[in-house]
Symmetry: C2
Subunit: 391 residues, 2 copies
Amino acid sequence: MVVSYEVEVSPGLLDPANGALADAGAGVPPVRSRRLVVVDANVHHRYGVRLSKYFNARGIEHAFCVIDAHERAKTMDSVFEVVSSMDRFGLARRQEPVIAVGGGVLTDVVGLATSLYRRSTPYVKVPTTLIGMVDAGIGAKTGVNFERHKNRLGSYHPSLVALIDPEFLATLSTRHIRNGFAEVLKIALIKDRHLLDLLAEHGSRLIAERLQPADGPGTGPIAGEVLRRAIHGMLQELQPNLWEHQLKRLVDYGHSFSPAMEMEALPELLHGEAVSVDMALTTLIAHHRGLVSAADVKYIWRVMDQLDLPRWHPVCTPDLLARALDDTVRHRDGRQLLPLPVGVGSACFVDDVSRSELARACAELQQLSWARSGTGRSGAASAAVGGGGHG
Amino acid sequence: MVVSYEVEVSPGLLDPANGALADAGAGVPPVRSRRLVVVDANVHHRYGVRLSKYFNARGIEHAFCVIDAHERAKTMDSVFEVVSSMDRFGLARRQEPVIAVGGGVLTDVVGLATSLYRRSTPYVKVPTTLIGMVDAGIGAKTGVNFERHKNRLGSYHPSLVALIDPEFLATLSTRHIRNGFAEVLKIALIKDRHLLDLLAEHGSRLIAERLQPADGPGTGPIAGEVLRRAIHGMLQELQPNLWEHQLKRLVDYGHSFSPAMEMEALPELLHGEAVSVDMALTTLIAHHRGLVSAADVKYIWRVMDQLDLPRWHPVCTPDLLARALDDTVRHRDGRQLLPLPVGVGSACFVDDVSRSELARACAELQQLSWARSGTGRSGAASAAVGGGGHG
């Protein structure tokens, strides 16, 4: 079976003159003009009218299914909501791709619903958050949480196409922009030193500008390069291993301890924030093993500061980390297969991280965090926000 | 991606000397000796002790998850039960295949649970009913019902291997044996005239004997040939189209109207009984189109009588059939793609069955059924029984 899916950067996606969204998965010639649009509640609030105008202008009958998508609603109940709306819409099995518009939670939920519906129906992803554009929105994985286990239920079900329009970032909250930069940072740390240098130099400004240029729509040249490198790096890793037959995955960097932290802190830590704490932890472990020099650790901390990403959180305790590692070992079939950075821009896998290494790194992160803030600041913003992030 | 799965007939499966079940999916050499066994409640009642003895004798640590599997319990809640038991067991992701022991409902539910768990974990099917051995147990499809829609949610997730031991049929109720023969009859009607002749001659006796030989374990020569031909015919159709990219499927014969009837009559009609009514209906439609001669119709009725399978049920009304066809059209992407028999042992696809054809065939079946029984007998047994059928 050959599977292909596309990731297409398409600025001005909601401009009626742009056919990308209307034509996505429509076949040649297009068979029917009906679309079910599943959209995050925040995104619908901001973009619902434009979405309707777009489909009307293109002569496409459509209905909305509005989902309040956030990490706590990343459940089978949300999947059922989408499935019921597919039934009400009377969706044909293969020729009316569902359009998913929202952040990573929304596209993961719609991905699973379409994967299960009649054992597989097509869908199109329109990620509206930075984390969606560089991570959740461009892979093949779908998933929901189950009994406090992160993504315990899911499938591999790539969308026909992921349409990326950076203009959506203009209305994204700063915190959700930073959240996405954690996944950009991951790609930089494991395989792209130049990307790391870009983040070190421009990270803070890119966040303030939400990757939008001062002088009009689209992205500025640096923002464009950062996005392209992050997406390209991710796809390079995913493409040969879509079904994860290979459990040695570089892109699991930052994702060994973070699922347990994220679930434990729910809803306080966003996904990227938990990933950032995980990366800080494993940076220190790698440092103590002589894999990352003191200078490189300092450089990584500098970039994390540029991006205002946390390095510690109160749920990050030796006990939680030990439990997290146990579950990660089950997930990696009896082995740790833990990606550790080697210098910056490179990584390796190890199988022998001990509880005492975890405890030591954890204690150091806590001290660093206290020293940095001087006020007991946890390193993560504490406001709970909706998953779409378009406040 | 290449996918392979095996169907293996292995008599004496629970004999500790038979390594088939212990070694299924264990890898070479076997990695660990732990198994989660998900088993239908009726089957556990009859075979639980032997299953335990088997795994103990082979030195395999194991736990049972007992599921009360029947059509009304073919839901996501049952899937969640299995998922929770996998979590409690601490299942490794790829090296501890779940063992599913039961009828089609049980293997469909476990198939979906393992498909979703960590986005895919391996499993082994041990079908204990005839319908499991010739149909549900040997395909790649998993599924549960949702809001009264048959198999609305599911996936394609073949087991590593399906182990078939006809001895399980010795304790199956007669009604469940007949239920399985409906799927055998389907294969005969669409592609195997010789199999139909075997059913015409031996059907009644094979049911009475539960496909067991008078003189010991295993199957007699005719029973063995019937099983082999049914399984072989099914696999021939499934194998080139595992993911149903092709929606023209001969094995959909009997499955165009039956899902709606089965759901409407729940729990009164077993799956095979609904399939039988569907086949009677489409036999008449084909006859009126000149595709099946009067003599062949008579022959088909004779075989259905041999197998004591129903040709009508009170839920079979023109209105329900019209709604069923509407949903089938959505399932087949805007076309009827309705398999109709051509003579016996062959079939074609049509796209233009009208409501009046449905109504006419329906009325005739009702009359035939009344004439046959003289007592208003519905043609289907009315007792509701557990899905495993091992009463």
